[in-house]
Symmetry: C2
Subunit: 298 residues, 2 copies
DNA sequence: TAGATTGTTAATCGATTAACAATC
DNA sequence: TAGATTGTTAATCGATTAACAATC
């Protein structure tokens, strides 16, 4: 069976998006928004709002109305011109489209803080996801309870997955254990994996992986944040000069040596490049993946 | 100041993507992948690998090499033809591009299980993110410690954000409190928000919001999972018949009444629609956002 | 020089958006 | 009927990908 690494990251080409994937012709981008619409509709339903226009619903979901109507057009013609959409009816249709009208047993592997948080997450149960088991490798954790469920030992993984027909696994282990856990889940029959460990998982064809990476989200924010403060005054100086000592020193050296910012496009400047290289040799990895092992206690 | 809801969800148009946004011409999709490359490069750096080809690095990051080279071309010409990329040099350049060579103080608001998990997340510190403070509204939580830091009261939010120049806030409160917390953060000077609460936040222009939604990820997996099992045998029957009692009954009724699946495109079938509507009135919200309040203990 | 690999081009694909005819 | 709002079209935009000339 051919193995392919998943796409990872909160980006357009998440897991399933790699296959032809537009199952039944619904674009991946639309699928990713259906849960948003469902959430907004559920809130309206609780307030007993009978119908809603594309404009109102779009506002509640945080998208524009043209996009929403286009999205809904892939599902069918569920609205009424001049009136809008029936809230209950849409809740049902979207739930059905997403597969939420059936029960989805899931296992959570790695019961640290994050595993705990997920086990307690009410948003799962209310949408058809049922925690079939909590698993951990640590004997000190096994036997304790989280969210009213006993934490069971990894040894039971296969029997639980098989007997309860679990098709979705959630991995909240340290990164070092993630691939091995993934392999066991897949071998036992799991075909969808939600991965919180900061690792690229390799899975056979036919298995979907989605990745949630807390640190990546922050890094993307930092990228934009960086550009807000100075509004491009002279990035080389402003950014590097606020950097930690060694980097700042190297930056100064760079400027003295070449006046460039190491970002000049196409300009072949081996001198600049070599010096920046030297400058970073010392600090090198600066923390790196090693520290991530401490991220999510197994 | 014009307020606009953020785009939310792990989809292409996350927060910042709404503005013209391609700060310095780097596409949003590329920015979202830079952290992946950085992680892979950091791992290589720790193994003291001096250079890497686009093919190797792409494999490690889980993307294809053409995409990687295209991404890097936006940053500059940092490789050497015939050789590849210098690992240390690239680590530095990408870190700089992402703004990780500077220190980013963040506050985490809402210290439940998830807040705890985030406070302990080693991936933050190793990338320049420093937890400036943990905040909570619950007097029983205030004063305890998490990840070695004291949990402080919400009342201190403004003074902390201002005195420590915090520009990034992480919201892990229950959904009901999120918008209010967001408003206070923004008012105090925060311009980037990472939102874990299942709510659409409204923020002024110039403020970026990224959203991480655990339940949405699972729903997307469920959508694809649903299509694997049966491979389109006759979805109306297979899906609805596995649904809970009331829904299944309604489905049967529907089939009897019209033989349609309620999904027929364009075909105006008021009878079918009305009956499906009736059928769902009873179960209605089925849990819904209310339960989500239990998600993340403040 | 020969082999390897980058950086860029151009074609393709998918997603977004405004506008409006259809129709309730 | 008049007003409102959907569902769809078509234009635009952005992202992906293969291929290859440039060049180490």
């Amino acid at each position: 069976m051919g193995r392919s690494p998943q796409s990872s990251s909160q980006t357009p080409d998440q897991g399933a998006a790699r296959r032809p994937s537009r199952a039944r012709g619904i674009p991946e981008a639309t699928v990713a928004r259906l849960p948003l619409y469902l959430r907004a509709l559920t809130a309206l339903s609780e307030r007993s709002v009978p119908t809603v226009s594309s404009e109102e619903l779009a506002a509640a979901a945080g998208v524009n109305s043209a996009k929403l109507r286009k999205d809904f057009s892939y599902l069918g013609s569920y609205g009424t011109r001049g009136v809008g959409y029936d809230v209950e009816y849409l809740v049902y249709q979207i739930s059905r489209e997403l597969g939420l009208t059936q029960d989805w047993p899931v296992v959570i592997v790695g019961i640290g803080n994050l595993g705990h948080a997920l086990a307690n997450y009410g948003g799962f149960a209310s949408r058809g996801f049922r925690v079939a088991a909590l698993l951990d490798a640590d004997p000190n954790v096994v036997g304790s309870t989280a969210a009213g469920l006993p934490v069971r030992h990894m040894d039971e993984l296969e029997s639980i997955v098989e007997s309860q027909h679990v098709s979705i696994g959630v991995i909240t282990t340290p990164p070092g254990a993630a691939q091995q856990v993934c392999d066991r889940l897949v071998e036992a029959g799991v075909t969808s994996i939600l991965n919180f460990a900061p690792t690229v998982l390799t899975v056979p064809d036919g298995v979907d992986v989605r990745k949630v990476d807390l640190s990546i989200e922050l890094q993307i924010l930092a990228f934009h944040e960086q550009r807000k403060a100075g509004e491009e005054p002279d990035r080389t100086e402003s950014v590097l000069d606020r950097a930690p000592g060694p980097v700042r020193a190297a930056a100064a050296k760079l400027r003295r040596a070449a006046g460039g910012n190491g970002k000049s496009r196409g300009g072949a400047e081996p001198t600049v490049k070599d010096q920046a290289e030297q400058a970073t040799k010392g600090k090198s990895a600066k923390g790196g993946e090693g520290e991530l092992s401490a991220v999510m206690p197994a």
